[in-house]
Assembly symmetry: C2
Homo-oligomer: 266 residues x 2
């Protein structure tokens, strides 16, 4: 079976979508079969992977609420080995629907995504992918909790800016709550430092701070601030396709190698 990882951080704009899409594309480029699940009502991962929102019939909403079969909500991308479960407008209302006891039983509301992807607690994932990366919205709401309950591990993008470290405590607390209550084997696979800008003193300070506080959890690979990464979404493609030789692409390929290394020797 494959592994499911949530890409999460409730702090906004730290590179969650950029990491889910580009780490996904980098893993696909080395032969892994990868599925990106867009669990953010904004649908940025869907757009970054070139899927037009108007063309979407079945979306991640149907995994959460409709208990639909995974295979029926998967879309192709232009990249070999890379697939996506797109987001849709319906996701905006998903949280309130999960909390509506007439629709979803109270004890099931955190596990709808887990049951749709795995069929139940502790079941291995056998959906025909090596890796599933779930792009989470910028909050610790029921959508993100569903992603945590469904995942084997979590990848945390951390922007090299002051405010970034502040939210990490809350995120780690939420992960611990999930571990203690429902999912004891959930772990953080790693923390990836994003938008690192060598010319900005603050970037280096935050990176040093993060390594001091989090140690091994922080990947060696730094994702640099690189304009090609910001331009690629407007062309509906990952940066690896938009400009394979730029520093942005090279850093995500390096991250994929480090990610796979951690997967082999946890």
């Amino acid at each position: 079976g494959g592994r499911i990882l949530a890409v999460a951080n409730q702090k906004g704009g730290v590179g969650k979508t950029t990491t889910a899409v580009n780490l996904g594309a980098a893993l696909a480029s080395v032969g892994r079969r990868v599925l990106v699940v867009d669990l953010d009502p904004q649908g940025n991962a869907t757009t970054n992977l070139g899927v037009l929102k108007n063309d979407v019939e079945k979306s991640s909403y149907w995994l959460l609420i409709g208990n639909t079969d995974l295979q029926s909500v998967i879309s192709d991308t232009a990249i070999e080995n890379l697939y996506v479960v797109p987001s849709s407008e319906e996701l905006v209302g998903a949280e309130a629907e999960l909390l509506d006891e007439d629709l979803v039983l109270k004890e099931k509301r955190r596990f709808m995504m887990r049951d749709a992807l795995r069929g139940g607690a502790g079941h291995p994932f056998s959906g025909g992918f090596d890796y599933v990366l779930i792009d989470c919205p910028p909050s610790l709401n029921l959508l993100t909790v569903n992603a945590f309950a469904a995942s084997d591990a979590i990848v945390v993008p951390l922007q090299c800016e002051f405010l970034a470290l502040e939210g990490l405590k809350q995120l780690l607390q939420t992960i611990n709550l999930i571990k203690k209550s429902v999912h004891p084997t959930l772990e953080v696979q790693g923390v990836v430092l994003t938008m690192f800008d060598r010319s900005v003193k603050l970037s280096g300070e935050v990176a040093d701070d993060a390594r001091e506080q989090l140690g091994y959890l922080v990947y060696d690979t730094l994702i640099p601030r690189n304009v090609k990464i910001a331009e690629a979404p407007s062309h509906g493609m990952p940066v690896l396709q938009y400009d394979p030789a730029c520093s942005g692409s090279r850093s995500y390929i390096k991250l994929a190698a480090e990610f796979l290394q951690r997967e082999q020797d946890p």
Copy 2:
């Protein structure tokens, strides 16, 4: 009475907190009495204004859930004329509590903040401030809806990056829903372009696009990407205090002038 404005955009990391804090500080520097309400569980506005989270007794949570008197949740800042209702950890659970029908009546769950600040629909705000700026979390959840129902108008920070425009449609749809259902006079006071980087082609393209699509709604003032703005939060102060002469401070002072102009001739 004074005016209440929500600073909102569900896209993460676009400069909501930076705008609430620095527009607030700039209005205070020209003699307006300003209150920043931190409605984000992350509490970044609280930290940016130098308030230590451990010192917080009463927070914005108590306005939402506890129906507490506004005066009892206000903290001072180091800046004259600038006050803050801090955020606290309790806000993380606020949304689920608002949706719990044993705690809050269904028809009241969107109006708790409005009733705490104004005492009811259509009532003028008479809390002793010229302006209240509510810093919203990066989502269109019940906290943000409470902010919209309580506000006279909305200020929308828009980052000069591709993904930024994509989410705007959803935001404007949500605002229209609120206008039609409960708050017909709610309006967008303006859209402020943030993190504008003259050396990046994409920045100029997004700015032009935004002005083409939104016209007058977009303020003339552009907020440049400026490292002093990113450094100021680590010193617990607005950039106007940290480095009053930098381009970041000057742009927020200019924005405050334009904001006041719009307030006079709507």
